[in-house]
């Protein structure tokens, strides 16, 4: 290409790219979609915990327990106090409790919802033994003399407990689910304690013996490096990177498809073709929408990192991860955008595009399906093979390379970056051949085979 041609090429491509970028970014839709929606999400995430801080509704009163022996009520009272004490734990204590298995998921949720507020101040409940009949207990509940009542069959206190026996907990209709759950758990624990007491066993000693031990899992690589096991590091962070990349790539490529179809159907394309070659138009459009994608990547990426910093998890993202995100993101965009531009040039409206976009979408969806197996085994056969199949390469590699628990062979990163770059050029070249013929075609939608033939037209 002569110097004059290069100059003309650069001028036309930059003019087209800027128009595409400006037409997308300086619109209310973009500002709302890309800037306001994340802002609303941030505000929402900030507000929801505050709202949840209100915790469960205050409750005060008696829970009457009829078990024939009078031993369940005091035991349930002790269990309730123990549960309420756990709800007052701070974040660090909660994390420790979760790790040690001292609290189940329901208790953790209740504790998280309650936050640092002392729940025992809101819950003032006493379990009282009673000799009333079930009918009298029901009457007492209906009259509001008690919060709830429980009827515990004697068989549940035997050792071993009678099979098939259940205890009944009756609550008023206005009782919140969290309070019902609280009463249930206190009664269950109380019945177990009463049963142990009746059998002459030391409940405290047995509980201590049955408590689950704490663990620390460490992954040791072939070269001896150690990394602590982390679900976030192993699966969630790579998925976050991949979803972010997938989202911005697909959004940009989809906008490119729409814009190409619009220009073709509104006959603007014919005007553009008089001023620039099909290749210049294609490159300009791809770059313009690529800049939109990069802007989105920067906005969403920054928000994600800010979120990790706030959650004290910033160490999960390394500078190398960010560099790879940009490298793989750019090449992934070029490949998918090239396919979308080729499809957009070949059809007359979005409806026609659906039949040709299907195969492209199938390719784009593959990384989402492969996320779990690749995260489970980032150096397995599936992961390695798919890493070298464009256009899957950048999506699979970002999953593998950003996991913090298992290193992948170093040579695979530069190799796949180069492969992705070469593939991007190849995809763009093939797309430009199809684009050149497609933008001038009218009439029926071409088949994928016809698109292939167009790529071979001189």
């Amino acid at each position: 290409m002569s110097a004059t041609r290069r100059r003309h090429f650069a001028r036309r491509v930059s003019a087209i790219a800027w128009r595409e970028f400006a037409a997308m970014v300086f619109t209310k839709g973009f500002i709302f979609g890309v800037l306001i929606v994340p802002a609303v999400m941030v505000v929402t995430f900030a507000v929801i915990p505050t709202l949840l801080h209100e915790g469960p509704r205050a409750v005060s009163g008696q829970v009457l327990v009829s078990d024939g022996s009078g031993t369940v009520a005091p035991a349930a009272q002790g269990a309730l106090e123990s549960i309420l004490a756990r709800h007052s734990l701070n974040a660090q204590e909660l994390a420790d409790a979760a790790r040690s298995g001292a609290m189940d998921a329901g208790e953790l949720a209740l504790s998280a919802a309650a936050g640092s507020q002392d729940t025992s101040e809101n819950v003032s409940v006493s379990f009282e033994a009673t000799g009333l009949t079930e009918g009298e207990l029901k009457e007492s509940l209906r009259n509001g003399h008690c919060l709830a009542y429980a009827v515990v069959p004697g068989g549940l206190l035997d050792a071993p407990p009678a099979k098939g026996e259940t205890f009944t907990l009756a609550v008023a209709t206005w009782t919140s689910p969290s309070h019902t759950s609280l009463f249930t758990r206190a009664l269950r624990a109380g019945i177990v304690k009463a049963r142990l007491d009746r059998a002459g066993k030391d409940h405290a000693a047995l509980s201590a013996l049955l408590s689950l031990p704490e663990e620390l899992t460490v992954r040791i690589s072939e070269d001896g490096a150690e990394a602590p096991e982390s679900l976030a590091g192993r699966m969630l962070v790579p998925m976050g990177f991949m979803i972010l990349m997938w989202m911005v790539v697909f959004t940009g490529a989809n906008q490119l498809l729409t814009s190409t179809i619009e220009e073709k159907s509104s006959k603007v394309m014919e005007v553009l073709l008089s001023a620039a070659s099909p290749f210049e138009i294609l490159v300009g459009k791809v770059l313009g929408h690529g800049m939109v994608s990069l802007l989105m990547l920067a906005i969403y990426g920054s928000l994600g990192i800010a979120g990790l910093v706030l959650a004290a998890m910033a160490d999960l993202v390394t500078p190398l991860s960010l560099v790879l995100l940009v490298c793989y993101g750019v090449t992934a965009y070029f490949m998918i955008a090239a396919m979308m531009a080729a499809v957009g040039s070949a059809v007359n409206d979005l409806k026609e595009a659906q039949s040709l976009v299907g195969p492209v979408m199938l390719v784009v969806m593959v990384p989402l399906v492969l996320w779990l197996p690749i995260s489970e085994n980032p150096n397995g056969m599936l992961a390695v093979v798919t890493s070298f199949i464009p256009p899957l390469t950048p999506f699979v590699m970002i999953l593998r390379a950003t996991g913090t628990t298992e290193a992948i062979p170093y040579w695979q990163i530069p190799a796949t970056v180069v492969l992705s770059a070469i593939s991007s050029v190849a995809f763009l070249w093939i797309a430009s051949r199809i684009f050149r013929v497609g933008v001038l075609m009218q009439g029926k939608t071409p088949t994928p085979l016809e698109l292939f033939r167009w790529a071979l037209v001189r």
Binding site: R5, V271, A276
Partner: protein
């Protein structure tokens, strides 16, 4: 006069269809040349090759003495199917088209404002393209093709859809451009426009050039004769009746539907045909018609379709040489 456009043996096929078949064509600076031909004749393909949108399979194209791809900045183009960015403002569209053609946004805007004033569209630079009428959009697109003061202007059906007032405005602008030395190639089906504006015409049919000469020479084509008849009753009925008579190639009616025009076959005896018409059609007047480009077009295309390509091609070659 210098050569601005030269096509030599240009051929282009799409699959089994030969859209352009060995076309030779030259255009001089400051010339208005009409590119005529029926639908599907290959005119658009030829124009697209001149604009370097597609490349010929065989032959060569020289625009302003060089490769067509290098000449894009000196070419202006108004396509048949108009297209504007609906949401874009006129000023922004002009600036964009100007930048593509190598002039700054500011220069494009000021030139566009002056052109639009001349086209009787002042003060629309801040309006969205979607807010303009069809005629206004056509003017905007015409102006956008002229912003960079092209040396060669290609107009594809520039007058279609325009009212008579605007048509005259366009024509005046086209003639003014010619005066300034712009070479204009325009493709049209409106023969009277071509006859009025063009210095030269080329006629293309089924991908091949079948006529290439000055307009005055085209109107002197041998064997092209026609009669004009003013019937007393319905001109449609009269046209149908005359069309079925021996020696008649085809009939048409003029714009107001009063006059029937009948083109004679090359071998028909004009006097006997006139006698037949007088005998069978009640009429007010009958006379020998002035030959128009329309007659030439119908005659040559019909001849070519009837398989007389060899004769016509010979004529085209002769005219081209002339």
């Amino acid at each position: 006069m210098s050569l601005v456009l030269q096509l030599s043996g240009v051929t282009k096929s799409f699959g089994a269809v030969r859209a352009v078949d060995g076309v030779d064509f030259r255009m001089e600076r400051g010339e208005i040349c009409g590119c005529l031909g029926p639908n599907g004749a290959g005119k658009s393909t030829m124009i697209r090759m001149i604009l370097a949108i597609i490349r010929p399979d065989e032959g060569s194209i020289s625009v302003l003495g060089g490769d067509a791809l290098d000449a894009k900045d000196w070419l202006g183009y108004l396509p048949e199917e108009r297209g504007l960015y609906r949401k874009m403002k006129v000023g922004a569209f002009m600036a964009y088209m100007g930048r593509l053609k190598g002039i700054s946004g500011a220069a494009s805007r000021s030139r566009a404002a002056a052109f639009l004033d001349r086209m009787e569209l002042p003060g629309i630079m801040d309006r969205k393209c979607s807010d303009l009428s069809k005629g206004q959009q056509q003017k905007v697109q015409f102006v956008s093709a002229l912003l960079h003061e092209p040396e060669v202007l290609i107009l594809d059906e520039p007058f279609s859809g325009l009212d008579p007032v605007n048509r005259r405005l366009f024509q005046a602008e086209v003639l003014a451009l010619r005066e300034r030395g712009t070479s204009i190639l325009f493709s049209t089906h409106q023969m009277e426009q071509a006859e009025r504006l063009c210095d030269r015409v080329i006629l293309v049919n089924k991908g091949r050039k079948i006529l290439d000469c000055k307009v005055s020479e085209a109107l002197r084509q041998p064997g092209i004769r026609a009669l004009e008849i003013e019937p007393v009753g319905s001109s449609a009925e009269a046209a149908a009746k005359i069309g079925s008579m021996a020696g008649i190639l085809g009939t048409s009616t003029n714009d107001d539907g009063r006059i029937v025009r009948a083109e004679l076959r090359g071998d028909a005896d004009q006097r006997s045909v006139m006698r037949d018409i007088i005998a069978h059609v009640e009429l007010r007047a009958i006379q020998e018609a002035r030959v128009t480009l329309d007659d030439v077009f119908v005659h040559l295309v019909s001849d070519a379709s009837a398989g007389a390509r060899g004769t016509v091609a010979g004529r085209a070659g002769g005219n081209a040489a002339a």
